[in-house]
């Protein structure tokens, strides 16, 4: 429960009328089972990043066996902190407990819940089997006090209960009340009558006599809390496809606001990717517009990644730029993000010095990002054609067409040895800059003029080609220099009576 709700005097299990009378400004929402399941799945997927053995214990509890992950993640405390931070980013409240036994961890997490008086509708508990068990409870609010919770979330701080060894576990469990065990509920009156109110006291009673009076269920549960037993449950498995919908509270008309909401979706997508060890090649973001009478089909944004991504920092810039370019046809009421093409995560070794092998992947990400904002048609890469005509040989293509890119790489690899051998002694030098359209020059005193008279330095180089199509050229190229020592590549037409001079390039 948020501190704001606590200050108003709200308590768990209150009636709606009481809540309204205590805090009139409070907004009440009906309980949303689907959102609770979503929150549970998100928490389980976040936990999957730390261990494959994640179990659903009760409706709101996750048990995580982190025995074999301790060394990898640097100890139980780092795991608990990392998990809590990740769940905090998913806007979930969590109570956790750590113990060598599953039931013990669950009990410790319950203690945390009661001690902080959190408003819990949906909690999860996590534990591990062997050396350390870790349990946590999460609460996600979807019904009452939603607005209050948003205003002051996570103001209550508490430290999770750690019991990493058997003596600590016994010390922490012994003072707990018997009422915390579910199987002790029918016998609570009798237990109170004989003065046995704590688990420690219950454990000190003679075992045979206790079994005759209360049956084996309570004893089994007590044994599970104190000693290690094998946990027989099927672990949680994340779904194969990611589909998540976010209903917005308001109609949004600005893509910037949409970007901040879609970040929540992207975050849970990244959690899912981390759990499944997948990387994303493409995804779609659907923007749902007004329903009902003015219904119009949802706008679908295709997100394609040249390099598979799985981190939020790689995904979000592209999503933001993609959204900022999109013009909305109407106000947006909901967002749906779904994964399309997936790939396996490529493992990257962490090195001290930057690895040159990682640069191509970074470069492809850069191209993705640039084309998301500028559009693929403004990003040009060379695709030289074997032709003598300079304007046709100098062929630039936009980066968007993947077939062209593939063809380019194949021609480049094939042409590289040939070009090296042929360029070892180029016969003529080509200018670095080429004008998109040759510029007609005026002639004065038989001399071409371009901001002053041009001196011819070298030439002519005769290029005559293209008789097979309509772009036939017949030109004599010269290198010319003006008075500022700028070197130009100019040509004179040969095939017309009134031969004109043209400027075609600059030597840079």
């Amino acid at each position: 429960m948020t501190s704001g709700a606590q200050q108003c005097g709200l308590k768990l299990g209150m009636r709606c009328a009481t809540v309204r009378s205590l805090a009139p400004e409070c907004l009440l929402y009906p309980r949303d089972q689907r959102a609770e399941q979503n929150a549970y799945a998100q928490a389980a997927q976040a936990a999957l990043a730390y261990s494959p053995s994640v179990y659903q214990h009760t409706r709101d509890t996750l048990l995580i066996d982190v025995t074999y992950s301790l060394r990898l993640f640097g100890g139980i405390r780092l795991i608990v902190q990392g998990l809590r931070q990740q769940l905090k980013r998913l806007t979930l409240q969590v109570q956790s407990g750590v113990a060598p036994t599953a039931t013990g961890a669950w009990l410790l997490a319950q203690v945390a819940r009661h001690s902080t008086q959190h408003f819990i509708q949906h909690s999860s508990q996590q534990s591990a089997q062997h050396s350390a068990q870790h349990s946590s409870q999460q609460s996600a609010q979807h019904s009452a006090q939603r607005s209050l919770q948003r205003s002051a979330q996570y103001s209550t701080q508490y430290s999770p209960h750690y019991a990493c060894s058997q003596p600590t576990l016994e010390r922490l469990l012994n003072p707990l009340p018997c009422a915390m065990l579910p199987s002790a509920q029918p016998h609570l009156v009798w237990l109170k009558a004989i003065g046995c109110e704590t688990l420690g006291g219950l454990r000190a009673l003679p075992r045979e006599g206790l079994q005759r009076r209360v049956g084996t269920a309570l004893l089994n549960e007590l044994g599970q809390a104190y000693t290690q037993t094998v946990w027989r449950q099927t672990p949680y498995v994340a779904p194969e496809q990611f589909i998540e919908q976010l209903d917005l509270l308001d109609r949004l008309e600005h893509t910037e606001a949409l970007a901040s909401f879609s970040e929540r979706l992207a975050l849970s997508l990244c959690t899912w990717l981390a759990a499944k060890q997948y990387a994303l090649r493409s995804a779609t973001l659907e923007l749902h517009h007004e329903r009902g009478r003015h219904a119009c089909p949802p706008t679908t944004l295709e997100l394609a990644f040249g390099e598979p991504v799985w981190l939020l920092g790689q995904l979000m810039p592209l999503l933001r730029e993609r959204l900022s370019r999109q013009s909305l046809v109407g106000p947006v009421v909901a967002l749906t993000l779904r994964s399309q093409a997936l790939a396996a995560q490529s493992t990257r070794s962490a090195t001290l010095f930057p690895d040159p092998l990682q640069a191509p992947a970074d470069y492809r990400r850069l191209l993705d990002l640039l084309s998301a904002r500028l559009g693929a048609e403004q990003i040009l890469q060379p695709l030289p054609l074997p032709d003598h005509r300079p304007e046709i040989a100098n062929n630039w293509v936009s980066i968007g067409t993947s077939t062209v890119v593939a063809k380019d790489t194949t021609t480049a690899t094939r042409a590289t040895p040939a070009t090296v051998s042929s360029t070892s002694a180029p016969l003529t030098e080509r200018p670095f800059w080429l004008l998109a359209e040759p510029l007609a020059l005026t002639v004065r005193d038989d001399r071409p003029i371009y901001y002053g008279p041009l001196q011819l330095m070298r030439g002519p180089e005769r290029i005559e080609s293209g008789w097979w199509d309509h772009l036939r050229i017949a030109r004599d190229y010269f290198v010319a220099q003006d008075q500022q020592a700028v070197r130009y590549w100019i040509y004179r037409e040969r095939d017309t009576e009134q031969a004109r001079w043209f400027l075609h390039g600059l030597f840079a």
Partner: protein
């Protein structure tokens, strides 16, 4: 920069009470911090550099080359005076063939020339953003990404805040970052660590005057002979004023008819 000033203020009383000459700090002070250097010598804190390929120019630059991860301004009167040829050796000196990005160039780059210079065509990327804001954003993203060997950016006019921002973005990468700007901005302030003014001579040589560097002011002009080029090295004689060739006269040769 604040850090450097703090150190200097701290040292000031030490320098004045020193038994050595008060105007000349003892050599031990210079060893105190790498950010300290005398005004008459090059900055000892020059980061990684790439050799320019010209010994005369290397000798005048702190760190013996173009600094990477910093804004370098090249002020050119026109395009076409040999500004790209100046950078050719530096681009060749990169250990791995990473891409070179041309952002908003004045003309279309010619792939044939690039291939003649023994660069792979796939190393070149040509960006033509429509708006100035997009161009600044692209430059910043390219610098932040750091996967490109060099970024060549033509932009005018540019606000000083944009220059500062790009310089800051460049500092986190190892990308060579050149900005081509016109001569008219030579009196404006700039955060660039190196500002070089280019001019061409009639002989094909390129003259450079260094307007700003991390070191003493450079009073003289550096003349770089025309780089060994397949074309221009063949011209050994002085430039002749050659007249334009005569107009080609269309000829009509009568085809002999078969008897």
């Amino acid at each position: 920069m604040l850090y450097i000033y703090t150190v200097l203020f701290y040292l000031l009383p030490v320098m004045l009470t020193s038994k050595d000459s008060p105007l000349c700090p003892p050599a031990s002070l210079l060893k105190l911090h790498p950010a300290l250097w005398r005004g008459s010598q090059f900055s000892t804190r020059a980061g990684p550099t790439v050799s320019t390929g010209f010994a005369a120019l290397d000798a005048e630059l702190p760190g013996q080359g173009w600094p990477t991860g910093a804004l370098i301004e090249l002020l050119t009167p026109h395009s076409g005076i040999g500004e790209i040829r100046l950078l050719r050796a530096a681009l060749h000196a990169q250990p791995t063939p990473q891409p070179v990005v041309l952002l908003q160039p004045p003309y279309q780059p010619n792939i044939a020339c690039w291939s003649d210079w023994r660069f792979g065509p796939q190393r070149l990327l040509h960006l033509t953003p429509q708006r100035a804001r997009d161009a600044y954003w692209s430059a910043e993203q390219i610098l932040k990404n750091g996967s490109c060997a060099a970024l060549l950016f033509w932009a005018h006019p540019v606000q000083s805040s944009v220059l500062k921002r790009l310089h800051l973005a460049a500092q986190n990468s190892q990308t060579l970052f050149f900005m081509f700007r016109p001569l008219s901005v030579q009196n404006e302030a700039s955060p660039a660590v190196l500002r070089v003014m280019l001019a061409a001579e009639q002989t094909g040589a390129l003259t450079l005057s260094i307007l700003k560097r991390r070191g003493p002011a450079c009073g003289h002009v550096i003349t770089l002979a025309s780089p060994p080029s397949e074309l221009f090295s063949t011209i050994t004689h002085d430039l002749m004023d050659r007249p334009a060739p005569a107009q080609p006269q269309p000829r009509h040769v009568a085809t002999p008819l078969a008897d």
